[in-house]
């Protein structure tokens, strides 16, 4: 206890700080901090020139554009589907509701490679959905649309679960007074429900985006993986590693992390803005 200076933490009557703090810090240092510093060192090994050279490669640029563009789109779609599912699961009681509620977490529990081959099977030209959509001229598997679909699949549970508690904790009296005072249902949805849901919806967007942009297993089967067309950034990291280009792999990884953290930062700011604006 005495080994930790008093300014470092507020005094507590509970013993055990040194032991548990020691375990947690050792674990985090070895498993996260040390490996991530290796990543940063490798990425900056050839200086700014090395970073620019890697980024100037059209294949890298195309992969980053594809990954970030599609995952922003997927996050947006998941946000809307998330509100829909959360609303349906909390505002009504219907047969099989507990089953449907449990199923929402399927994309989280299903190993990504399994989801990947299942989606590919379904949406390839010979599969159930592939035949159906092919008849109206829509190709999903081995196109960017397939990547979008896989990204939406893995992000959906996170979107639903961030909106659900907000609708659950709804203040029923506000709703009743608004509606008895003569506001129509449409106006009520637009003017009261949507703004109240905004912060949770933004969180849903952020979580779904974070999951989608890094996703690998469920995408690589359905993507087709054509360079410049349907090659996602995580796959390019794997490709660089297979050529033993550690620096290239580390640079793409770092750029991905910086970009996603920046986007998640903006999402956090928006969330704070909407939370405050509502009060």
């Amino acid at each position: 206890m005495k080994s930790i200076p008093a300014f470092f933490r507020r005094p507590s009557a509970l013993p055990g700080f040194s032991l548990t703090f020691g375990i947690a810090m050792t674990y985090l240092s070895l498993l996260v901090v040390l490996p991530l510093s290796a990543l940063a060192t490798h990425a900056s090994g050839q200086g700014v020139a090395g970073i620019l050279k890697t980024l100037a490669d059209p294949r890298v640029l195309a992969a980053l554009k594809l990954s970030f563009g599609l995952s922003l789109l997927a996050a947006y779609a998941d946000m809307i589907l998330g509100i829909l599912l959360a609303w349906a699961l909390t505002r009504y009681r219907f047969w099989l509701r507990p089953l449907v509620d449990a199923l929402v977490d399927l994309p989280f529990a299903l190993p990504t490679a399994v989801a990947g081959i299942a989606l590919t099977q379904l949406y390839s030209p010979g599969g159930w959905m592939g035949r159906l959509l092919g008849a109206i001229g829509i190709k999903v598997a081995f196109t960017p649309l397939g990547i979008l679909l896989a990204m939406m699949f893995v992000g959906l549970p996170f979107a639903v679960r961030s909106v659900q508690p907000v609708i659950e904790d709804w203040d029923r009296e506000t709703e009743e007074s608004a509606l008895t005072m003569g506001a129509g249902w449409g106006r009520y949805l637009w003017q009261i429900v949507l703004p109240t849901l905004a912060p949770a919806a933004i969180t849903a967007f952020g979580l779904a985006f974070a999951r989608a942009v890094g996703e690998y297993g469920s995408i690589i089967f359905i993507a087709g993986n054509l360079p410049l067309k349907t090659e996602i950034a995580p796959l390019l990291i794997v490709a660089k590693l297979e050529q033993f280009d550690y620096t290239g792999a580390a640079i793409i990884a770092c750029v991905m992390m910086v970009l996603s953290l920046a986007i998640l930062g903006v999402v956090g700011l928006l969330n704070r803005y909407f939370t405050r604006y509502l009060r």
Binding site: F21, V100, A102, W185, F221, A253
Partner: protein, 275 residues
């Protein structure tokens, strides 16, 4: 179907429930059905045959071994981290929480890459490992490290809100009466958070057994040696052995279904404890 709010127009409620059920059926149920359909498309015998392959058995055993190493270590870390974060105020606590959450917002591929950069052929520790004759990358320790990284936050994340809500009154009272810290942990802290801990273990285990991106980077993909089930499924699929791939996939899909049921049941218990 009944509405919770009678102010909501019936047509709206029907529209929402209909749309939600359609999304669930097409988007979530159909892939699940497709897995089992493909696994049994050539009949039971072909399905059973897929599991008699020595490489398939090796991949199942390897997956179990990786999970068996990963889960206990992450439980130990999760308990320690949750205790520190939920029970004390100290400088850098928000930084600690941010680092704890980092694996959730990182590509699993990067989770594998960082260990290649440490222990791989040109990695920081390559000379040391060569000296000691230990292989980490393209071997079992690498698989465990990558899996530990990816699944690190789940136990701590499940425990922290629970521990924070319960507070430390009971623990302080027992300590004041002269109980030792170990006794307090065993008799008060652990029983109070047992459902949260179980919840975290279920999530960690599901993620550990199904992890793909991180382990594919560190595995080296040696059949029968370093291929976990998800990696072996990929190999079978790329060899056009669809029945084999979907048979193994159906096993993981069943694990996912068991996980969902366990998660829902334990989740209810956690809600009950939190009141």
């Amino acid at each position: 179907m009944t509405r919770i709010s009678s102010f909501e127009p019936l047509w709206f409620a029907r529209l929402v429930v209909g749309a939600a059920l359609a999304v669930i059926a097409v988007f979530l149920m159909l892939p699940l059905v497709a897995i089992f359909e493909q696994a049994f498309v050539l009949g039971w015998r072909a399905y059973a045959h897929a599991f008699s392959e020595p490489d398939a058995r090796a991949s199942i055993l390897l997956t179990l071994a990786v999970a068996l190493c990963t889960v206990p270590l992450n439980v130990l870390f999760g308990l320690a981290a949750a205790w520190v974060i939920a029970r004390y105020d100290f400088r850098g606590k928000s930084l600690l929480t941010a680092i704890l959450d980092l694996p959730l917002s990182m590509s699993p591929v990067i989770g594998g890459l960082i260990f290649v950069l440490l222990f791989g052929a040109n990695g920081w520790f390559a000379p040391l490992l060569a000296l000691l004759g230990i292989k980490v990358i393209f071997a079992f320790p690498g698989l465990v490290l990558a899996t530990m990284f990816v699944t690190m936050p789940y136990v701590a994340r499940s425990l922290i809100p629970l521990m924070q809500e319960q507070g430390s009154d009971e623990e302080l009272a027992a300590l004041g009466l002269g109980a030792s810290l170990g006794y307090v942990w065993r008799k008060i802290t652990l029983p109070n958070v047992r459902w949260g801990l179980l919840y975290g273990i279920i999530l960690t285990n599901a993620r550990a057994m199904g992890e793909f991106g991180a382990v594919s980077v560190v595995s080296g993909l040696i059949r029968g040696k370093t291929m976990t089930m998800p990696l072996y499924i990929e190999a079978l699929y790329n060899d056009f052995d669809f029945t084999g791939a979907f048979a193994l996939a159906s096993l993981l899909a069943m694990l996912a279904l068991v996980t969902l049921v366990a998660k829902a049941l334990v989740g209810l218990q956690v809600e009950r404890v939190r009141g």
